[in-house]
């Protein structure tokens, strides 16, 4: 009688239970203590040599400084604020190829766009020097573990405080001890197809006098793409967002002059926004190669703008022809005249090109290789090394000053205008402040803000990106015959994707805690069982449970 009822009841409860289980398993909830946005170090191959961070997923316990020099960190993820990082220690680790589970570097919040009230008063110049050294180290080394950048926050502060407290008790966090676990679950990074570079050009044609042939052309060029240790953070406000903003403002000013046939000069103006800058100005080379030879020969000279947002009193004019050259001297005189009026000085720096050396340090060198006179205006006094000063981590909105860009714009515009309209040597202020042709710092600022929000590393900037469309539209507004040239980047670069991820931080209890809890629980249940048996059935029953085999034996016997 009893058996069928119990089995019935059992199967009913079992099915109800399993149904409930299945139902609840379908509900998904996030279960991390906190999730933080992190940005990965670039992963690329250069001429077959693998460089950068080669792994993208992370699943290790977190640890921090100070660490024992002999400790094994292959199963730990090191979380370090930038200014606490000891570069010699890191360099040692990298050169000796010691294994590391992962590296998370915390950048000061001042560098981010969404800087709130968090963060102490950080010395940005010290941050800049440390970042330069760090980026140099990381970008040119092969790191077989994930390296991520994140911004400092209260989450990380409390995490580091907890970890440091545990470290003082000299117990590194492992799976048996508890602590924090950092998990980034992304798939392995895949190779990207060779990057497309898009070069833009726009003309402001000059006024032809009836039968005259080709008018001379003056070109103004800037490269707009960047390269940095963290491609998602590489916004390059100064290198070369400042150049782009300056070029667009100059285009706007001259389009006002050239829109009226009475004020149209006898020079064509060619504006060029090139890509592929960090890769030895490969894009500029392709752009120039695409020109008809006659057009190229009609270019009187080209002004390249690079990093014009961070200078105070000295602007540099870099040339590859010797300064004694007649054309260079003429251009320099024109510039220094205006500079003197504006209250700063221009210095000339000559760097010879070595044709056999593939390294192209300045954009004007590509022009010189095509025998076009060119110069680069820059706030930098020395030529940057390969993959240096091309949009580093510290190069964010705060490192570019719109006033410096405005002064550059005025310098270039005035000198050009004096030459075009034949007012050399005269005391005249064409783009005077307050006039309708004044340099508009709002225009510069809005473009600088946009550029500082848009990471522009070429392999991750597809030609359908809205930023590209915005550049094209802006050029079309001010110039005519806007043409976009899409090419594939030359050279031995291969890039990999997966540049951003979400880091989940879990607080874990460790296996020892679970075992302890199980012990406690087991003893509680046993005590409860014994208590209930004793109170309801009597102590004899409890002892009988353990003696049951013996009792049965005696009964059967």
């Amino acid at each position: 009688m009893a058996a069928p009822a119990t089995t019935e009841a059992f199967s009913l409860s079992y099915s109800m239970f399993s149904l409930l289980l299945i139902l609840f398993a379908c509900v998904e909830l996030g279960d991390a203590a906190s999730a933080v946005h992190v940005y990965r170090l670039i992963q690329y191959d250069l001429a077959g040599v693998p460089l950068g961070s080669r792994i993208s997923h992370l699943n290790h316990h977190a640890t921090s400084l100070p660490i024992d020099p002999n400790a094994d960190l292959s199963r730990s993820a090191l979380v370090v604020p930038l200014l606490d990082l000891d570069l010699s220690f890191l360099r040692d680790y990298i050169t000796k190829k010691k294994p590391l589970g992962g590296l998370v570097i915390l950048l000061p919040q001042k560098l981010s766009n969404k800087f709130g009230d968090f963060g102490k008063h950080v010395d940005l110049s010290r941050v800049k020097s440390v970042l330069n050294e760090l980026e140099d180290l990381l970008v040119h080394a092969e790191l077989p573990y994930p390296v991520y950048f994140a911004y400092e926050s209260s989450t990380f502060d409390s995490l580091l405080g907890d970890i440091r407290g545990k470290n003082f008790s000299s117990q590194p966090a492992t799976s048996t001890n508890g602590g924090y676990k950092l998990v980034i679950s992304t798939s392995e990074a895949k190779k990207l197809s060779p990057p497309t570079i898009s070069n833009f050009q726009g003309w402001l044609p000059g006024q032809k006098d009836g039968d005259s042939e080709q008018l001379p052309t003056i070109a103004i060029v800037a490269s707009y793409d960047t390269f940095g240790a963290a491609p998602s953070l590489s916004v390059g406000s100064d290198s070369n967002g400042s150049g782009v903003a300056a070029l667009l403002e100059i285009a706007r000013l001259f389009s006002r002059l050239y829109s009226n046939p009475k004020t149209r000069g006898k020079y064509n103006l060619l504006f060029g926004l090139t890509s592929g800058g960090p890769y030895n100005y490969n894009g500029t080379q392709k752009w120039l190669r695409s020109f008809d030879q006659r057009v190229r020969e009609s270019i009187d000279y080209a002004i390249c703008l690079n990093s014009v947002g961070s200078w105070d009193n000295d602007l540099w004019m870099h040339v590859s022809k010797p300064p004694e050259n007649v054309y260079i001297k003429e251009i320099y005189d024109g510039f220094s005249e205006v500079a003197q009026d504006m209250g700063f000085s221009i210095n000339v720096k000559h760097k010879k090109i070595n044709i056999s050396n593939p390294r192209v340090a300045w954009e004007h060198e590509q022009f010189s290789r095509f025998r076009v006179t060119a110069l680069t205006l820059s706030g930098l006094s020395a030529a940057p090394e390969f993959l240096q000063s091309t949009g580093n981590l510290h190069d964010t909105r705060k490192s570019a000053d719109e006033k410096a860009i405005a002064r550059t714009v005025k310098l270039v515009a005035e000198s050009l205008a004096r030459q075009i309209y034949g007012h050399k040597g005269k005391k005249i202020d064409i783009f005077a402040d307050g006039s309708s042709l004044a340099v508009n710092s709002h225009h510069i600022r809005s473009w600088l803000d946009l550029l500082s929000r848009t990471p522009r590393v070429a392999p991750f900037l597809s030609k359908n990106n809205p930023f590209i469309a915005a550049l094209k539209k802006e050029l079309s507004d001010h110039t005519v015959e806007v043409h976009v040239q899409n090419e594939v980047l030359d050279g031995a670069f291969t890039f990999y994707d997966s540049t951003e991820a979400t880091l989940n931080i879990y607080q874990v209890a460790g296996v020892t805690f679970d075992f302890l809890f199980l012990m406690v629980l087991g003893s509680y249940l046993i005590v409860l069982f014994s208590f209930l048996v004793i109170t309801t059935r009597g102590l004899d029953d409890l002892i009988n449970i353990f003696r049951r085999p013996a009792v049965r034996k005696s009964k059967s016997a």
Binding site: A9, A25, V27, A32, A33, V508, A509, F517, L521, T536
Partner: protein
């Protein structure tokens, strides 16, 4: 490793029910059917309570303690008592003594309560990597709830199943039963109005459940003497 934690917390939450069933004479008299029926009655009661709550309560604008809402919740909590009454008196049980009847009903009731209220959060939350004390507190609450339900079932059986009771004890019985029935409101008052921490509330629950169990035990044995 966190499946381990889930197993631990599940043991803490549901283990005592199983242990109670197997340790006391309930298993010998095979009262599983009664417990299952009590569990089903609890489900129905919970549904009715949900409908009443949805109909009569407003969505609170602020987190504070609203006396009117709490009184409504107490009244709806009495639906619980009605359900228990139904389970004790109206269901046809086999020939089991009154002693065991209230235990079986209380056990089934408390088990259904635990499963409905605590299984889902446990399944979803305790399996993740993140460790919190929440589920351990939940398990302790389930234990306290079991004791309180058993006490309430005992007092209920005294009120409704036993015809001759000593006159003096009747008001005490009804007072204790009322106190037990309103226990959820008391804990929510502590949590929201006085803002006690979870561990303090759980501690209070355990302490009060033991106290109430002691009182009900005394009352029950006092009423058993004439028989």
């Amino acid at each position: 490793m966190t499946l381990f934690h889930f197993v631990n917390c599940a043991l803490l939450t549901f283990g005592p029910h199983v242990v109670y069933y197997s340790a006391t004479p309930l298993s010998e008299y095979d009262t599983l059917g009664t417990s299952i029926k009590a569990a089903v009655v609890y489900l129905l009661t919970a549904l009715i309570k949900l409908v009443c709550l949805a109909t009569f309560l407003k969505v609170p604008e602020n987190e504070g303690f609203d006396p009117y809402q709490e009184v409504m919740k107490v009244l709806i909590g009495l639906v619980d008592v009605a359900g228990l009454y139904f389970a004790l008196t109206q269901l046809t049980h086999r020939n089991i003594s009154q002693n065991h009847k209230f235990q079986a009903v209380g056990l089934g009731w408390a088990f259904a309560d635990s499963v409905l209220h605590r299984l889902a959060p446990l399944w979803i939350g305790a399996r993740g990597l993140e460790f919190t004390w929440e589920f351990i507190f939940q398990g302790l609450e389930a234990n306290a709830n079991l004791v309180m339900t058993l006490s309430l079932a005992a007092l209920g059986s005294l009120m409704w199943l036993r015809k001759n009771k000593p006159r003096t004890l009747i008001p005490i019985i009804y007072a204790c039963a009322f106190l037990l029935a309103t226990m959820p409101s008391i804990t929510s008052y502590l949590r929201k109005a006085l803002e006690w921490q979870t561990r303090e509330v759980v501690g209070f629950e355990i302490f009060s459940s033991l106290v109430m169990a002691f009182f009900s035990w005394q009352l029950f044995s006092a009423c058993q003497r004439p028989l």
